[in-house]
């Protein structure tokens, strides 16, 4: 009985979960905000001078680094963004010499960090920047796990008010009509800013005019659902340290199916399954009660019957006994009489 109940519950749970997912996973396509800005990084123009890093450090009032920004020997090691460095330039080996790539938050159109954050600390602004609100952040660092580009960094050394640190696309400066620090300082205009749709056109035009110079692909146009910060390069992107295995589905879309099941699990299942269980349990209880009552009844009936039979049998036995006694007496009388008949001298034993 218990096993069948269990299997029935399992089936119901699965069925309810299944009917819900198609409705959610068949999501609508929606385009980014029309005012979303984009930034194009042209790897054929970057000379690895690190002026962008210096500018970022200045406009964000970050602490001075151990090695100054004009020390180009740091490029011999691969670096990543950390809590004091919102952008880094790394050196790679290209076909005809060194190639450089600037790494920072890519300001995805559908950010994985915003999707993973359960306190809504990340917000995709209409100007394209993914903004971080330190006042609601609880420091769980799910955003660091979620980011496919491994960009957000955490202030582990801050005991009281640690923040997640990442490039802000200089959203405050953009609001004032200024350019982001790195874009303004780059001497080669390796970074080009504009509306995202215009930036894509610029990139395509550059690739069309100089086909032998570029790989025919704009990285970030569709990767992870599209990013605001895009790259064109003369070397294959995997050669400049960029993942080519990310696919074009955005992170929220990848998890939307599973997440849509949560309301079902949390809301519907307890009620539904609890109800079914309760009904089933009640059914069992009633059946049990009935069984107990029936047993009692049967016992009582049997007892009564037994009593009746006993008294009947006793009555019968008594009658039989009386009869026997009578028969015995009769027999004895007859014997006596017959003996008397043979010997009329003895007295009368019978009274």
């Amino acid at each position: 009985m218990l096993r069948r109940t269990f299997l029935g519950l399992l089936g119901t749970a699965g069925a309810t979960a299944a009917i819900s997912t198609p409705a959610v996973a068949g999501g609508k396509e929606f385009a980014p905000h029309p005012d979303t800005l984009g930034v194009l990084f042209d790897a054929t123009r970057c000379i690895g001078c690190r002026k962008c890093e210096a500018a970022c450090n200045e406009v964000n009032n970050l602490p001075a680094p151990d090695k100054k920004f004009d020390d180009l020997t740091v490029l011999d090691q691969k670096r990543r963004t950390d809590d004091k460095t919102l952008t880094v330039v790394n050196k790679y080996q290209g076909k005809g010499g060194p190639v450089f790539r600037k790494s920072q938050c890519n300001h995805c159109l559908e950010p994985a960090c915003a999707s993973a954050c359960f306190v809504k600390a990340f917000k995709k602004l209409s100007n394209g920047a993914v903004e971080y609100d330190a006042s609601v952040c609880v420091g769980c660092r799910y955003c660091m796990v979620a980011c496919p580009f491994e960009i957000p960094a955490y202030e582990y050394d801050e005991p009281l008010t640690p923040r997640v640190m990442k490039c802000t696309m200089c959203a405050p400066r953009l609001a004032e009509g200024k350019l982001p620090g790195c874009v303004e300082q780059c001497p080669k205009e390796a970074l080009t800013i504009g509306l995202r749709k215009d930036i894509i056109k610029i990139a395509r035009e550059r690739i069309r005019k100089y086909p032998e110079r570029y790989v025919d692909h704009i990285y970030g146009e569709n990767e992870m659902g599209g990013t605001s910060w895009m790259y064109i390069s003369g070397e294959p992107f995997s050669e400049i340290g960029m993942r080519e295995d990310l696919g074009t589905t955005s992170a929220p879309e990848l998890t939307s199916g599973a997440l849509a099941a949560v309301p079902i699990v949390v809301g519907l299942w307890p009620v539904l399954l609890g109800g079914i269980y309760a009904v089933s349990k009640r059914k069992d209880k009633i059946a049990n009660d009935e069984r107990v009552a029936a047993v009692k009844d049967a016992l009582a009936k049997a007892g009564a019957e037994a009593e009746k039979k006993l008294s009947e049998e006793l009555g019968k036995a008594e009658v039989a006994n009386k009869r026997r006694i009578e028969v015995e007496v009769k027999k004895a009388v007859e014997e006596a009489l017959s003996a008397k008949d043979e010997e009329p001298a003895s007295g009368e034993e019978e009274a």
Binding site: C49, G97, P187, E189, G194, D198, K201, K209, Y210
Partner: protein
């Protein structure tokens, strides 16, 4: 229990190995040029075994050590030509062999020799029963051949060679390979060779001759090993030797004595039957310096793609396709990729169509075009020679004092001081690098043409506009391709330095060009 598991693991291991899933020999396969995969009977039916791996050079070396030669495996027919097939003659007059017969030829032919060599206690190949040593499913050797070519240097080595006998009554030896004059490509494209794989045609022509010279103990002969013509390293060695020979001759290869034209007037031909037009029509003719171009290319086939006997493709695309290696424009575009040219030319996108002025560099209008159209080849060649002689020999530059000596760039002084650019030094240095280039002198038709390399997108002049008159603030909506002024300066200068492969000044060395502001 554990015993069962161990046994299962062992069985699994054996099974995987048998299925070839453990380790892949194919990835570790060594590459050699002399690998021949023998699958002769594949055309006659399905193969029971995979193709046999055969290393030709190993065998020629081994036979040579034993004092044997090609005859051990290759038969000669009654005409004296060596057959390139293994121990059999194939051709029109030979009977067709069945799959079994072919298999037996190979098995008996190969294994018997291996067995004999084994009897002599020498290193030998697989013998009877070692089937998979030859028929390897995952061959341990893989063929890696470069195309063996005959460029002009190698050709000179042949036509100047004393070993190749001269033709009867002539002082050239062309007939030894090129059977008929006027049909020099015939030895490759003749009907008798139709249907044969080109490798057979070439090997029959070249390798057999080299071998026969080697037999005659000639002083210099060509290679007979696969690797010597098809191995990347060996080919590089041959090319280096050829370059050395050319250098010792003074840097110029002697011209092939075949009475090629020195100059050719390329224009539309008009037959005498057609009525003479009132005036010349069509594009002006091109005076082509054939003698110069002969020395500039590696092989005649660079332009005569279909062979030297076939008529050339004279369509517009054939002459003007900038992406082709055999068109005029395409070859010139390749020249522009040299560092001394790329400094200016890398900035110019291919998609910008050249102006009409550049057509005139080749298509120079002539006065007597209508007469020339029906003139004889000699008359046209003479006219072409005149036109070629009229071309500028040296690169023209503006007068020295028209080239500013220093240009101070102070349009954007901020963190750095103004930059004092040694303008004249740069211009003269660029001019010096291309002074020997006929291409540069002809196409940089005016003295100001060189100026336009940096002072671009404006008419060529000795008083060009300031860069800032077009390049201003970046990221404007009007022209997204145009960089701002700072990026224009840096992009132009740094781009040129990178293309010319200059190490100094390094792009990241800001103070090399402008001092830091105190």
């Amino acid at each position: 229990m554990t015993a069962i598991l161990v046994v299962l693991a062992g069985v699994l291991g054996f099974q995987l190995e048998a299925m070839g899933m453990l380790g892949s020999a194919a990835d570790d396969a060594k590459e050699r040029p002399d690998v021949i995969m023998i699958d002769t009977i594949a055309r006659l039916g399905e193969l029971e075994q995979s193709a046999a791996v055969f290393l030709h050079d190993t065998h020629t070396k081994a036979l040579k050590e034993q004092g044997l030669d090609c005859q051990s495996c290759h038969k000669t027919d009654d005409k004296g030509n060596m057959s390139l097939k293994f121990k059999r003659l194939e051709g029109e007059n030979q009977p067709e062999l069945t799959a079994t017969e072919l298999k037996d030829i190979y098995h008996d032919g190969c294994i018997s020799c291996h067995t004999e060599t084994a009897d002599k206690n020498l290193k030998t190949g697989p013998m009877v029963g070692e089937c998979r040593s030859c028929h390897q499913e995952k061959p341990e050797f893989v063929a890696d051949r470069v195309d063996a070519g005959m460029d002009n240097v190698l050709h000179y080595a042949h036509w100047s060679s004393k070993e190749i006998p001269m033709d009867a009554g002539k002082d050239t030896n062309c007939g030894a390979c090129h059977t008929k004059q006027g049909e020099e490509d015939g030895w490759r494209f003749d009907a008798v060779n139709a249907g044969k794989p080109m490798s057979d045609v070439y090997h029959n022509q070249c390798v057999t001759c080299h071998q026969s010279l080697a037999v005659k103990k000639a002083e210099k002969t060509g290679p007979v090993e696969c690797a010597s013509c098809h191995g990347a390293n060996e080919v590089a060695v041959i090319k280096a030797k050829g370059a050395k020979m050319v250098r010792e001759m003074g840097g110029e290869l002697p011209r092939l004595p075949r009475k090629q034209p020195d100059a050719v007037l390329m224009m539309l031909k008009r037959s005498e039957n057609e009525p003479k037009p009132e005036k010349a029509t069509g594009m002006a003719p091109v005076a082509f310096d054939h003698k110069f171009h002969e020395g500039a290319v590696d092989t005649c086939n660079a332009c005569h793609v279909k062979g030297v006997n076939a008529p050339m493709d004279v369509s517009f695309e054939a002459m003007h396709d900038e992406n082709s290696d055999s068109s005029c424009i395409g070859c010139h575009a390749k020249e522009q990729q040299r560092p001394e040219c790329a400094s200016c030319h890398f900035m110019r996108s291919n998609e910008v169509k050249p102006s009409d002025a550049s057509c005139i560099s080749c298509h120079k209008p002539v006065e007597n075009g209508d007469v020339l159209m029906t003139a004889s080849d000699e008359a046209k060649a003479a006219e072409a020679a005149l036109l070629i002689a009229a071309r500028p020999e040296k690169l023209q530059l503006p007068a020295l004092d028209a080239i500013p000596e220093f240009v101070t760039i102070d349009a954007m002084v901020d963190k750095y001081e103004a930059s004092k650019m040694p303008h004249r030094k740069i211009v003269l240095s660029l001019a010096d690098k291309i002074k020997d280039s006929g291409l540069a002198s002809t196409f940089h038709a005016t003295p100001e043409a060189l100026c336009a390399g940096c002072h671009h997108n404006a008419p060529a002049t000795v008083t060009p506009p300031k860069c800032g008159s077009c390049h201003a603030k970046p990221f404007t909506e009007t022209d997204s391709a145009k960089p701002g002024l700072k990026a224009a300066y840096h992009g132009q200068c740094m781009g040129c330095h990178t293309e010319m492969k200059l190490e100094k000044p390094a792009a990241t060395n800001c103070v090399a060009c402008h001092e830091l502001k105190k």
